[in-house]
């Protein structure tokens, strides 16, 4: 169900349609699998993920460490190591199939059409290259501008992400900046060439809470300004609660629930999603309230268990859960999919036997 436009692929160079011309969806991921061959076996980090993202919208991908969310982000971009990696499925971006692109073509896409914001700005920025140069690298590569213009653009970019005295700071080195500043620089770099899609991999982990909000606000503002789509990967449901149009919850390499944000919170189906929500401490709770953690550990991705992968940790687990893997199916509204045999109904735990009759007939969603 892709929306192909007539685009030219002349001599290996890909022509990208203008943002406003291209019809949604911007990105379609279909049955993406990514596995790594290691000494101990093949790790199925991403095990069949499908979703789509429209222009200018934000998809939040939420999951614990080990859920595969970072690998997903990199797999979408294609930023994986060359050896011992197996990838299957399709990733269609503005009508182009990314999984079959040659490295030279991928490099055209990276930075210019699709870019990534990394988690730790201290390690993601080259410590011995000036900030300005790290921005202009990208600019001069993808856009046809000279050095002077690139520098001027870099200064403006720094200004727009809220770095004071950008004309000076452009000559600074990363270690001279605070954590929050560095992350802003990263955002500036990622957004330098006005990409259509930004993948933000835990952009605020490791920052002070007060700075986190600023950074997220900044991202949102930039996104709106440039009509940019964003995939926001995080382990913190609270981060995406206000900022994402749609949220996908990942567990053990798969999406276990996906819905528009409000629907997700109002009509949660997956017990795992509910558990994630419960684990967020609330300011309103009286002090001394115990934190609700999810017991147990994520499953082994080399030999995943037979039934539902969340079964060992699910408080409502039944025999059927352990035996067979629940498929992804739609809930009341077609934009809401989940994978559970005994889903929650309006927040209440499922009845003890059999699926509730109020569910729609089981249909596969792509």
């Amino acid at each position: 169900m892709s929306n192909r436009q007539a685009v030219g692929v002349t001599e290996g160079r890909i022509e990208f349609p203008d943002v406003t011309d291209f019809a949604d969806p911007l990105l379609v991921v279909n049955d993406l699998h990514t596995s790594f061959r290691t000494g101990r076996g093949t790790v199925h980090a991403v095990d069949g993920v499908s979703f789509s993202v429209n222009r200018g919208t934000t998809l939040g991908v939420v999951g614990e460490s080990g859920s595969g969310k970072t690998v997903l982000a990199r797999s979408i971009m294609g930023l994986l190591p060359v050896r011992d990696v197996i990838r299957s499925g399709t990733v269609e971006f503005t009508g182009h199939e990314m999984t079959t692109m040659a490295p030279a073509q991928l490099r055209q896409v990276w930075g210019a059409q699709m870019s990534m914001i990394f988690q730790d700005p201290m390690t993601a920025l080259n410590p011995v290259v000036r900030i300005g140069n790290q921005i202009t690298d990208s600019l001069r590569l993808h856009l046809d501008i000279d050095r002077k213009e690139a520098n001027a653009t870099a200064v403006e970019l720094l200004r727009s992400v809220g770095i004071p005295s950008p004309e000076e700071r452009i000559r600074w080195y990363p270690f001279q900046l605070s954590g929050g500043m560095r992350q802003r620089v990263m955002i500036a770099i990622a957004l330098a060439c006005a990409p259509r899609l930004v993948l933000a991999d835990e952009p605020t982990t490791g920052l002070d809470v007060s700075v986190q909000a600023q950074i997220l606000d900044l991202l949102q503002a930039m996104q709106r300004e440039r009509h940019m789509a964003m995939i926001l990967v995080t382990h913190d449901l609270g981060v995406v609660a206000k900022r994402a149009d749609e949220i996908a919850v990942m567990y053990a390499g798969r999406i276990v629930e996906r819905a528009p944000t409000r629907t997700l919170f109002a009509h949660t189906r997956m017990p795992y999603t509910r558990a994630l929500m419960n684990s967020i401490p609330r300011l309103a709770d009286p002090s001394g309230t115990r934190l609700q953690a999810i017991a147990g550990r994520p499953p082994d991705l080399i030999h995943p268990p037979q039934g539902c992968r969340f079964a060992p940790r699910c408080p409502y687990v039944q025999d059927k859960c352990r035996e067979s893997d629940p498929p992804l199916r739609t809930a009341a509204s077609s934009e809401h999919v989940f994978a559970c045999w005994f889903p929650l109904v309006d927040g209440a735990p499922p009845p003890a036997a059999g699926p509730t009759p109020s569910l729609d007939p089981e249909t596969q969603s792509s």
């Binding site: 980090a45 460490s65 970072t70 690998v71 990199r74 994986l80 190591p81 011992d84 410590p127």
Partner: protein
Amino acid sequence: MPTEHKVHSPTLGGTLAGTVPGQTPPIVVATALGAPGSPDDILAKRPLGPLFWFALAWVAIVAISAIIANLLPLQAPNFQNYTAINASPSIHHLLGTDDLGRDLLSRIVFGARVSLVVGFAAVGIGLVIGGALGLISGFKGGAFDIAFNAASFVILAFPAIVAVIAIVAFWGQTLTKITVIIGVGTIPIMFRVVRASSLSFANRDFVMAARTLGATSRRIIFREILPNVVPAAVSFGLITVAGVIVLEGSLAFLGLSVALPTPSWGNLIAEGTSNGNLQTNPYIMMWPALAMFLLLLSINLIGDRLRQRFDIREGLL
């Protein structure tokens, strides 16, 4: 270069290449955290490999034969058999003889003693003294550390070769003296390496934890830091052994190693290249050169594999 890297004037004063605390090796992919790096973990934890065992075997052969040299059925190393000058390898003389009729195999086996004794004993001296000082210095810090560190730098600035040449020439050319001289010379190097290692561990949390449990400094040094420092010290020590063997060889070339006719590999090679021996009987030079080459190769290999095993950074110099 790891980014968490404080470089304080790397050659003077502070620690060379600083400390590299907690730079974790590439991800454990099974938990799918962070960046998928190269899954075959190029530098860390490679299997020892067949070469390693060959190297170990060679060193063992050399060592054992040197030790039991007197028991082996060899012609005495200094015995000159004028009927068999420059003989080619044969049953009687497995490696041939030199220009004075001396059995080459015998000379090499006995000569191994010098190389091995000087090599290991000298480094032993350096490790024990320099290592002890470095261990304490890195842990304690303060005036003690500054003083010794500065001293080690000054001593290392002094051209060691000259000192060794001078002392050997003046003092005497016996095996013991040479060993002691070179041994003392390795003290500052060992000091630096052990100190750098000790320093990097002294700041770790587990030391702090031990302290909060009431452990004395001495106990911490021995029970917590020393076991962590040993791998680095041993592997670096091995590499230094190779360096010392080379130094002895060089000295021999200058005529400053054990006095002839006592064989040492350096002596033998020097003999092999003088008096036109290279043209008349290249074997004289060839065999000890080969033996030394293999020994150096083996020691370097062993030291290197051990270093890889324990993930030591070369920046610890």
